[in-house]
């Protein structure tokens, strides 16, 4: 298959970038989207051009490192799919594909399609953990919560921190990410003790990083590769208000 690519090229955070056109022939539909970019890079390297840099790690949809804005959508056209799990069979011969980095909030392009997502790490550092060692995963029946509650905590924990929520939010809000982390621990007995300071700390850090307000448009849950629900945001708001009142 033959494609026309429009890829965001930018040398570093301090220089302006622009879309650059590439013609790529010989793309196979079984290639993943990232393999297609590898294939382009091989050609660029052979012709002494600087390869296109992009974030990736596991390439199996579990780490959250990859994340490209493809044809106007975070992680491209498929629902519930990270960029590395998108394959070229979702495109057709002769297509033009726009490839841009995730933008919004504290995300900054470091080079080409690579972004600095360390703001997410700092939000986690502001409370997304349990301070006392609670040992290995306990035997499932020993946790004093129902199976449904444990499952719903796991649904929140499934967030891989890719940043698609921020990238797709009109306000550059990190509400879905932050709320998934707050909710995951608020639902488990191990996390309850620190629920208040965790909510306040993580939300303060989210604001300090410069992310926007949540308008409840729910676009984030539509684009999330892990299909994290916006009900996590409702829970975060509840935890925040509870903490403010009880404090």
């Amino acid at each position: 298959m033959k494609l026309k690519l429009k890829i965001w090229r930018q040398l570093n955070a301090n220089t302006p970038g622009k879309l650059v056109d590439y013609q790529l022939e010989g793309v196979e539909e079984d290639m993943s989207f990232l393999e297609m970019l590898d294939y382009l890079n091989e050609k660029l390297i052979l012709s002494d051009e600087r390869p296109v840099e992009f974030d990736h790690d596991c390439r199996e949809g579990i780490c959250g490192t990859c994340g490209l804005f493809i044809n106007g959508r975070a992680h491209g056209p498929l629902a519930g799919t990270s960029t590395c799990q998108l394959h070229m069979r979702s495109f057709s011969d002769g297509d033009t594909i726009y490839i841009e980095p995730f933008r919004g909030g504290a995300f900054k392009v470091t080079r080409d399609l690579k972004i600095d997502r360390s703001a997410f790490d700092r939000i986690i550092m502001a409370g997304g953990f349990i301070s006392t060692p609670v040992g290995d995963a306990p035997e499932a029946n020993a946790i004093p919560i129902t199976h449904d509650e444990a499952e719903s905590a796991f649904d929140s924990a499934a967030c891989i921190g890719c940043g698609a929520c921020v990238a797709t939010c009109k306000n550059g809000s990190a509400a879905l990410f932050t709320s998934a982390k707050i909710t995951h621990l608020a639902k488990l007995p191990q996390g309850k003790a620190e629920a208040q300071q965790r909510a306040l700390g993580m939300i303060a850090q989210m604001d300090a990083e410069g992310f926007g307000h949540c308008s409840n448009t729910k676009a984030c849950q539509v684009e999330c590769p892990q299909e994290i629900s916006v009900t996590n945001i409702d829970r975060m708001n509840w935890e925040f208000n509870k903490a403010k009142v009880l404090k």
């Binding site: 106007g72 410069g210 949540c214």
Partner: protein, 221 residues
């Protein structure tokens, strides 16, 4: 007011308070549907009550404050969100993931604000500071002013557009406000979502139908 969540809480609380006020306002307006003689007397009596009762005065100051706070913080939030959005994308199809009215709350709100200015000038200001004729009972005759205004087609059109804007604003706003406050448990989510839509429909249709009714009743031969 130094966190995003606190600012959104203020938006939600003032917004919901405004919704409550609109319900009362609509019920009051229903008096315009009474037979002409009765409508005039009763509407003017009601207007007098609404501007002289002490309890209602206190509520009305709360209301003015809510409108101002809601509009000011709408601006603050919109500016900050614009900055956080970092300029967007060269090719942008993000709109496919959310309903348009949830993304244009500020524009819809601006239409409502514009309406409020005209509405307050024509009725509220006139009533308080203008020289209105008196009706048979000796009360200020706001009824005649209202009926006369709704005789103009552009006025009807303006009202209709404004209330359609309000309708979309509330279609997203009501359930969003409960989510913002964190009062959206799974058991109640359907109830809150659909009663939000129900309230929106009642308010929008109610406020649009009354001026049209007045137009046909008092201005058609």
């Amino acid at each position: 007011m130094n966190t995003t969540l606190a600012r959104k809480n203020l938006m939600a609380l003032t917004g919901l308070f405004l919704c409550l006020f609109l319900v009362v306002h609509l019920v009051g307006n229903l008096q315009l549907l009474l037979p002409p003689e009765k409508a005039a007397v009763q509407f003017n009596l009601y207007s007098k009550f609404m501007t002289s009762n002490f309890f209602i005065k206190v509520i009305s100051y709360l209301l003015y404050a809510s409108i101002v706070l809601h509009a000011v913080y709408a601006l603050v939030i919109t500016v900050k969100n614009r900055q956080a959005a970092c300029g967007g994308y060269a090719y942008d199809r993000r709109g496919t993931a959310s309903p348009w009215y949830s993304r244009y709350m500020g524009i819809l709100g601006t239409v409502i604000l514009l309406f409020l200015v005209v509405h307050m000038k024509d009725f509220w200001f006139e009533y308080k500071f203008g020289s209105l004729p008196l009706d048979r009972e000796g009360n200020k005759d706001l009824f005649s002013i209202v009926v006369e205004s709704f005789g103009q087609l552009w006025y009807l059109g303006f009202y209709t557009v404004a209330f359609i804007a309000l309708g979309y604003h509330l279609l997203h706003g009501v359930h969003s406000a409960f989510k913002t406050l964190g009062i959206y448990p799974r058991k109640l989510s359907n109830f809150l979502y659909y009663s939000g839509i129900g309230l929106t429909l009642i308010l929008t249709v109610g406020f649009i139908v009354i001026p049209i009714f007045v137009f046909f009743k008092y201005h058609m031969p």
